[in-house]
């Protein structure tokens, strides 16, 4: 019921089976495992954006702000040379981020359309420059994370975040949880009104719904998921810097989402894998990989009207 489309079910089944097996067969190649881990983390980020842009109808160019905050909040809140508990601090960070998103959302959601795009961009740019120009946050170099957190729950610890394979499964779990959370929310009573607000805001308001409230809650959810992704990314590589929150980062996520098929959510996974895969492939082929990347993007826009997921659905749905 949550996954209504056949294409969706087929893709996700294949995806999770393959993803589960990758570290088992490629344990020696920790570089590759690490690369796929990053793709998984990015997929979480892109899914959260796809939710906001494709389903709630909030086109934001400032989503990377929260991605960066995930990392920065970790460095700010935790002591430098002590291994804190991952679950506790992830909870704190997401909570704090939700509050920040609530405040920002309450302001920016008073605008719409192109002005919403610009104001979200402006706020993320301001945050970018703030961290870029700051001394206590390491400026453009950012800050290092020296101690990865430990992951015990009630004294039992079975994940060692220094182990690439363990980290990989944490990221995969994040993909699963994010996917399920978004899908459940979209199917819920809340989701019904959120979609209605996107399809016809005037009508939905005329029916007595407080659209602002629905959008604000969605904005907080989407932003907090992005922060979790940012936290994982920072932990994986052991640093955070302002590049996490550039408009290029937001733009790239948007590209991945549109490429995969805006609004499908599972398309975000497809888009992330495709984009990162193409980049990897072109980078190794030629130093002018951007030319091929740009060409591939242009071709895909012209030929695949509804993104990759849309194309697959055309093939598989009767």
């Amino acid at each position: 019921m949550i996954f209504e489309k056949r294409t969706e079910r087929i893709f996700l089944a294949i995806f999770f089976v393959v993803a589960l097996c990758i570290p088992l067969f490629l344990e020696e190649n920790s570089f590759f495992v690490g690369k796929v881990t990053t793709i998984l983390i990015l997929a979480v980020f892109v899914m959260s954006l796809d939710f906001l842009v494709g389903r709630v109808g909030l086109v934001t160019l400032g989503h990377a702000l929260f991605y960066g905050l995930g990392g920065y909040l970790f460095v700010i809140l935790t002591p430098e040379y002590e291994a804190v508990n991952f679950w506790v601090y992830a909870f704190y960070i997401m909570g704090l981020n939700a509050l920040i998103a609530l405040v920002i959302g309450a302001v920016v959601l008073r605008t719409s359309g192109i002005y919403f795009i610009m104001i979200t961009l402006a706020i993320s740019q301001m945050a970018y420059y703030y961290f870029f120009d700051s001394l206590e946050f390491g400026g453009n170099d950012g800050l290092f994370i020296f101690m990865k957190p430990e992951t015990s729950i009630f004294g039992l610890s079975f994940l060692n975040l220094d182990n690439p394979t363990h980290f990989y499964y944490l990221a995969l779990l994040a993909v699963l949880v994010t996917l399920l959370a978004i899908k459940i929310i979209l199917r819920s009573r809340f989701g019904r009104i959120v979609e209605a607000s996107r399809l016809n805001p005037e009508r939905t308001a005329a029916l007595g719904y407080n659209i602002f409230a629905f959008r604000l809650i969605s904005y907080v959810i989407g932003s907090t998921l992005a922060a979790y992704a940012g936290l994982l990314f920072a932990l994986q590589y052991g640093y955070v810097n302002p590049q996490f929150m550039t408009w290029e980062m937001s733009g790239t996520a948007l590209v991945m989402s549109i490429l995969g098929g805006m609004g499908t959510i599972y398309g975000a996974i497809i888009g992330t894998i495709t984009y990162e895969g193409l980049q990897y492939f072109f980078e190794h082929m030629s130093k002018d990989w951007m030319l091929f990347m740009g060409g591939a993007i242009i071709l895909m826009v012209l030929l695949l009207r509804k993104g990759l997921a849309g194309y697959l659905e055309k093939l598989l749905e009767k």
Partner: protein, 287 residues
Amino acid sequence: MSTELFFVQLINGLQYGLLLFLIASGLTLVFGVMGILNLAHGSMYMVGAYLVWYFVAITGSFSVFAILSAVIALGLGILIERVLIQRLYNRNHLDQVLLTIGMIFVFNSLQSILWGNDPYGVAVPEALSGSVPFTDNSSYPVYRIFAAMVCIAIAAALYFVVSKTRLGMLIRAGESNREMVEALGVNIKSLYTIVFAIGVMLAAVSGIIAAPMRSIVPGMGESVLITCFVVVVIGGMGSIKGAFVGALLVGVISTFAAVLIPTMSNMIIYIFMILVLLVKPQGLFAK
């Protein structure tokens, strides 16, 4: 701050603003008439700068090749519109975003292939080098004054075309009512091609003019693009008059901010934009 410094910065700010207007006017024109948000607009600015650098580097002559570069950019604009942009008219805004981002990639990569990644400079042309004495101990570069004049001239020409010519009438009509323009017997496709090509040319010409005043580096297109967006939003999407006022405001504010509050100077135009939007949510001269 001394009066002297104030005036110098004011003129700097206005001159920077005029340059911004040149770029922004192309962006807002294309959006207003065609509804297309061209994210590769900054790349056109870059193309103009690199082209003129290239020609100057091999021939040493600025003026002739400045004009040649502009013509090439015009042709490029027509080509891009015919081949790519035309296919976007019935698609949604996000597809436009995606396609034009793809174009940014292609242009950046072509720039790297054709001209390399080293920073370049274009020497100020002989006739325009030197400074005009301003007060007893300071002077102002002639070239900057020249650049400002060219921007003003182009702004005036733009104003003339849009308000007094048939093309301008079609542009203004096309902005609000596409069907009406078609009913007038005008080929809307050709109109769009012309408008887009003009937009590209405006961006490229500003790149050409800016070339002797900036270093020519990879990524110069993107940094100008964002500032351009801020200008257009402040002025009101689609309004050329708004772009003019917005550009001057942004130019002056960021110039003064760089001198008075250097640590916050990067942020200042965004704060300004948010303030404007709080008071006038559609920009200063919204349609």
